[in-house]
């Protein structure tokens, strides 16, 4: 076993510290910082934690199996987004939404909160901010507000967005199932949905606008949080963020018709594509995922081919033992990524038959997917690989032991802050769950806390970290002419990020007490 000492704890923390420092102070991307963290973990694990070459080799293989599980979803989500985006459907959806209401608070909620969450549900990786910010500028909002509002508004939906890639990552690294993790995760993220909606209003109009738009947030938030909870606990977590935002749009249609919100006339924007056709790819996705997840015979048929590897018992020279067992399993044809691939192919054929593509569209879709996918994948692979080294030689356990000793009974309040820190440093809820998921799991175990509650706080904090992640703010600022002026936007979003995370910490503490 690894004996606890403060010096060893600092060395165990050093790979994470290296990633933090490089990303925050030196502006390194996730891939480069993750690679530096990998070297640090390699050296520290070999020098102080008894990592043998065999242990390091098998840790890398386990890491790649985990990475492939997540990358499958990420790449196929990017393909689907580009299949849709290439037709001009994203602009058509934006124009369609604009017809709902002329009320500024409703417009902010539609674009920054609901449409941003919808884009997170189908794409993610900075797309919500990059797409929504210019649309808000077009509606007359200042560039600072136009970036800050979607950054704050979409963050609650990150865990179950991108077809649940972040949630998949948390399941993969902790080895726990969706049945166990989904209820509390969806619960805390549902609470975050209301808070993000209110914060989006406060950014633009302070408490006056919060008072005016509060009833809308309550009604729409209930529809989104409720739908997300239902989808997550019924096994359709891949559609959690996406389905919730569609429910939010439907609820918003009703709310926008209320006399209170109809005092200002809506202006219709022109688009060559109707809203129905623009959304058709996502309707196809709903049908495909519903069949693949809920229809037993289809699920069994698609789930016949599963790839995995069996790992022998791994023992470090310091005595840390990882039992023998299978690594992450990948269902080649029934995985969430495969379902996205089917939906992308069908959507592409439908749009092509309708003549929405200009010549060379397929090539552009492939090129855009690769351009976005490669840097994201490098970040995930390098971070997962160093996280697995830390896990397999007992470094993560030692970190968890130290944290549980320091925070003790107050740990639940701090657990979302760890998730937030991970997302801030890596720009990704997925990476945060990979780096800190096992650490939070082990800490909860040691402190006798509910693992489901603590991991829910981890992923909620990780999701909220999206609003303060410099990588995403930079993307948003670049689309509205604020390149190089990210500071004021970041200062605005950090304020809301800290307040909302604090409230989630209190909710986590309450949940931990109730589940003790």
């Amino acid at each position: 076993m690894t004996e606890f000492s403060l010096l060893k704890w600092f060395f165990a923390f050093s790979p994470i510290a290296v990633v933090l420092v490089l990303m925050i102070w030196f502006d390194w991307g996730g891939g480069r910082a993750g690679a530096a963290g990998w070297f640090t973990a390699l050296i520290v694990s070999a020098a102080l934690f008894g990592a043998t070459p065999e242990l390091l080799a098998l840790a890398q293989t386990k890491g790649i199996l985990l990475s492939l599980n997540v990358l499958y979803i990420i790449w196929m989500a990017l393909v689907l987004y580009n299949v849709v985006s290439e037709t001009g459907a994203i602009e058509a959806i934006g124009a369609g939404i604009q017809r709902f209401s002329g009320d500024k608070s409703i417009q902010l909620l539609i674009f920054g909160w609901i449409f941003g969450s919808f884009l997170q549900g189908v794409a993610g990786y900075g797309v919500p901010i990059a797409v929504v910010a210019p649309l808000l500028v077009g509606l007359g909002f200042s560039p600072m507000v136009a970036v800050a509002v979607p950054a704050i508004g979409h963050s609650w939906s990150v865990t179950f967005g991108s077809m649940g890639a972040s949630f998949q990552a948390m399941m993969a690294v902790t080895g726990l199932g969706a049945d166990f993790l989904a209820p509390w995760s969806a619960g805390l993220l549902g609470l975050a949905a209301y808070l993000c909606g209110l914060a989006a209003l406060h950014v633009y109009g302070g408490w006056r606008l919060v008072g005016h738009g509060g009833p809308a947030v309550l009604a729409i938030g209930t529809a989104m949080a409720g739908t997300q909870y239902f989808l997550a606990v019924s096994g359709m977590w891949t559609l959690g963020g996406f389905g919730a935002s569609l429910a939010g749009l439907a609820a918003c249609l009703l709310v926008a018709r209320a006399p209170f919100y109809r005092r200002q006339r809506a202006e219709a924007a022109d688009s060559r594509m109707g809203l129905g056709w623009a959304l058709s790819a996502y309707l196809i996705l709903i049908v495909v995922v519903s069949l693949g997840v809920l229809c037993g015979p289809v699920r069994q048929f698609l789930g016949q081919v599963k790839l995995s590897l069996h790992f022998p018992e791994i023992r470090s020279a310091a005595g840390w033992v990882t039992p023998a067992g299978y690594g992450a399993r990948i269902s080649v044809f029934g995985h969430g990524g495969a379902l996205l691939a089917y939906a992308s192919l069908i959507s592409f054929l439908v749009y092509r038959a309708k003549g929405y593509y200009s010549p060379g569209a397929a090539g552009r879709i492939v090129a855009k997917t690769i351009k976005s996918g490669v840097p994201t994948s490098l970040g995930i692979v390098s971070m997962v690989c160093f996280a697995m080294i830390m896990d397999q030689c007992g470094m993560t356990y030692l970190l968890a032991e130290g944290i549980s000793r320091i925070f003790g009974a107050t740990y639940p309040f701090f657990s979302p802050w760890i998730g937030l820190l991970g997302a801030f440093m890596t720009g990704s809820n997925t990476n945060s769950n990979v780096v800190f998921g096992v650490l939070q799991q082990r800490t909860a175990d040691l402190a006798g806390l509910s693992v489901a509650v603590i991991l829910a706080a981890q992923t909620t904090g990780g999701a909220l970290g999206s609003m303060i992640a410099p990588a995403k703010i930079i993307v948003g600022c670049s689309t509205v002419g604020l390149a190089g002026q990210e500071g004021p936007v970041l200062r605005a979003t950090i304020k809301y990020g800290l307040i909302i995370t604090g409230l989630i910490g209190l909710a986590t503490t309450l949940a931990a007490i109730l589940t003790r």
Binding site: A35, A36, V374, V381, C385
Partner: protein
């Protein structure tokens, strides 16, 4: 050298990703097959690929 990395960064990033996805399977074969020499070679390759990621990632 710097110009080379700058000019081909996108291609090298793609290559490093392919390598990072492939080499761990070589490492698995080496570690479970009791071939320490191949394990060292695989770990060396991983190190080189991570260095490449630090340069172009």
């Amino acid at each position: 050298m710097a110009d080379f990395f700058k000019k081909h960064s996108a291609r090298l990033a793609g290559l490093s990703l392919v390598g990072l996805l492939a080499v761990p399977f070589l490492l698995y074969a080496a570690a479970t097959g009791g071939r320490p020499g191949l394990t060292w070679v695989g770990l060396g390759l991983m190190g080189l690929l991570m260095l490449l990621v630090m340069k172009v990632g």
